[in-house]
Structures are given as C-alpha cells and as structure tokens.
Symmetry: C2
Amino acid sequence: MKNEEWKMIEKHAKAWTLEAAELLKASFENTLTITYKSHIADLVTNMDKAIEKFFIEKIQEMFPDHRVIGEEGYGDDIKDKAGIIWIIDPIDGTTNFIHQQSNFAISIGIYENGKGKIGLIYDVGGENLYFAKDGEGAFLNDYELPRLDKASLSEAVIGVNATWVGPNKRINHENVQEIVRKSRGTRSYGSAAIELAYVASGKLDAYMTMRLSPWDFAAGLILLNEVGGIATKTDGKPIQLLEQNSILAAKPGLHEELLGYLIK
Amino acid sequence: MKNEEWKMIEKHAKAWTLEAAELLKASFENTLTITYKSHIADLVTNMDKAIEKFFIEKIQEMFPDHRVIGEEGYGDDIKDKAGIIWIIDPIDGTTNFIHQQSNFAISIGIYENGKGKIGLIYDVGGENLYFAKDGEGAFLNDYELPRLDKASLSEAVIGVNATWVGPNKRINHENVQEIVRKSRGTRSYGSAAIELAYVASGKLDAYMTMRLSPWDFAAGLILLNEVGGIATKTDGKPIQLLEQNSILAAKPGLHEELLGYLIK
C-alpha cells in the first residue's frame, strides 16, 4: 500500500478516535451529572459496544476492503493475517472506566499482512494521544518520543499487577516476587494499553502480564517497536498477533534481565 | 481560631500550592527541553528542598505562630500537637516525578491541636486539586465529593503495592494475597497522597500500605474524614499523627471487612 494511502488511514484513525473519545466523555459527564456513579456499570456495557460499532461503520464505509477485530465481537471472524486489519479495543480498562472515569484508553493497532503499521492509544481522561507509524517514530501528542535507553532492574519501575505476585496458575509467583524485590518499585494502572504506552514513553521501564487479547496489545507493540522497546511472551517466545498471549515489554537490557528471572 | 482566620489560611494554602506547582512544572519543562530525562534525578532533590523552603518562608511570614513539619526537614522539630501545624510533602511520589513527570502531588495537612482542619492534595500533572475543610466537605476542583457509600471486597478496587503481596517484614503477605484474590482488582500509583485522594473521591475503594510518614497521610486523612471514609492502622488501631504508621483507608463496611483479613 502506498504512503499516500497510509496518510489517509492515519488521518481517519486519529479523527475517529478523538470523535469516539468525545462520545465517551459526554456519556459519562451526563451520567455523572444525573446519578453520579450508580448507573455507570450499565453505561459501560453500552458504550463499549457503541464505540466499537462506531469504528466498524466508519472503517467499512471508508475502507471497505479492510477487516476489523474488536473486543466486543462486532468485527470480522479472522483466522489469517492477510491484508489490512484494524484491531480495536473501544475501552481498554473497563473497571477504571466504571470506578475512576480515568486511566482507560481507546486502543487501535492497524496491521498489513501481519506487520504493525499504525498504533494509536488514546488515554481519554488524560487527553494524551500516543501514536506510532511504522518507520516514522512514536509520539505523545506533539512530542516525539526518544529511543528507549538501556535499563537495569535495580533502577527500574515495573508495571505488574498484584495478581501475579501471589500464587496463580500462569506463572511461578516466586520469580515475580524476586523481580518486585529487586526493582526500584512497581506500579499497576489496570489498562494494558496505557501500561504499554507508558513503557514506550519511558514512564514505566517494563510491563508484564500473563494474559492479554490482541486488542489489548496490538497498538502497544507498534509503539514499542518505534522506540526500540522489546516485547515477547514471558517465556521469551514471539507474541502471536491473533491469539491470547502473556506479555513482557521492556527497555533494552532490562528485557533480557527480566527473562532471566522468569525462565529459570 | 475564628472562621475568618481559617478562610485566610485556606486562601493562602491554595494560592501557594498552585504557585509551587508552577515552579515544579516550569523546572522540568526546562529540563525536558534541554536534556529530556538524564538530569531529573538531580533536579528532584533540588526541587523537593526548594518547594519545602518556599512553603516555610511563606508560612513564617504570614502566620509566624504556626509550626511546620516537612519531609525535607527544614521545618520545626515538633514533639507535641499544640497550636497550628502545617504538615507538608513538597513532592509526594518522588520516583514518579523522576520517571513519569506525572502521578506526584503536593500534600498539605493543617492541624489545630491535633485536629485536622484543612487538607489539600494537588495532583500536579493532572492539575487536580483535592481539598477538604473540617465540617465543610471535600472537593475535587469545583466538584463536591459525595459521601462514600458502603462497599464490599468482591466489588472493590484496592490500592496496594506488590511489595506487600510477597514475603516482607511488616505484614503477613498471605493475608494480603487473600485480599488481592477476593477483590475486583488492585492498582498501585506510587504516591500515597494521590492514593488517599483516590479513596476519598471513590476512584479506589481502599488503600493499604505498611509505612507512611506524617507528610504522606496528613492531608489524606482530612479528605477521608469529610466524605465518611475510615482510616486506621492495618491492625485497626488509631493512626498517630506525628509518627510513622501503617495505613488502611477504605469505604465504610469495606474497612471492617479488610481488617477481618488483616488481623486474623
């Protein structure tokens, strides 16, 4: 696909995202005014679906040959990576949307034949747009994000949820505890898209979690790739775009160091 | 002290906080422009001290009979709770200040003979001012925060750092793991002041941590008190204002439920 066409896709992806964000904000500003929080649980279910449908209708109208995967399941049933695929999470961080009305994001990754081309994570509450385009760099709003420097665990702030620090079915929690102890500190924000954007922008040095779906990480991987961040499964193997995966995303050097704790 | 005098204290506390926030933002905007992040570690040390001195000078000039406790130690050496005491953290969440340039706060609690009168937590990056005045309610910017509803663990989002979920010297981590498993989810932001403000504003249902100093919690306790939040040590005993304490802050009902897990 030609550069001009990707410029058009970029333009529309950004415009639709900002439009969707306004719908989200307006919806809960109304609800907050009327009932504060009691009806937000119903609202979020409706808004998740409405925003996904909004994107699918726009994409089908403007780019009829593109396919869409969305968390809510209104997209295409996709088994292969051929052509252009939009991978969309209309509200990443649903619990935060309900409880906080912040720390949730719209996440869109656009892939061509399995290669990440455009990644876009919009932190709606913070009004921060993380955007990356294959080979053209990554941006936080108008600010171009620098390449990530190497980091070591003792100076690192790690995004990891407490779930993985206690006994669980997916990873040896004692290895995770060792990482926690040897790090400078840990954080957990409850939105994988935002946490991946934080790694790409250096706000976190690494992020690890044990089960994400394609719409949770599709955009984040493209951002990371543009700034030299490393992302694999927590066993060091490549992430499979159309499957559920564990994710270890980190600065160079630190990724290798963390793998040393996770796969011993 | 008369109501009029407290209005004057409130006015100045707010104005000085916003002024200090501008100093903080300007300082790292300059640094970001020049060197991005490499010199921020030096900067933060200087800014912590500079902001504390800024407050102390303002307070001594305007209210010469008030005393001040600050994290950086430029305040008074205070052993008793008599009179009016300002308890100040110039940058709560120093690691976030360095790594993220967000999720850090200025925290000010003003006490009269040990009773909380004015609490102020300013989330500098988010430009969110949490403010409470004894008997007059709590506010997030212009929005009056509602009284906290009762909550139960299964529907709760708990602020707790991964440190307390693994083996540690301060609490039985298996009890904390049980709380993590039975909650809806956990978060960790790396700023006690912000996490207490989040409980007061309903963004978190509870927050627990094992060692905070007076400047970390002095403002948060006043906010919580105005919205019906409960705060004790994690063993259920009263918090001692001038000492290091563990803290369990939560919505009504949930506080009791969490204590049931922590003190068995």
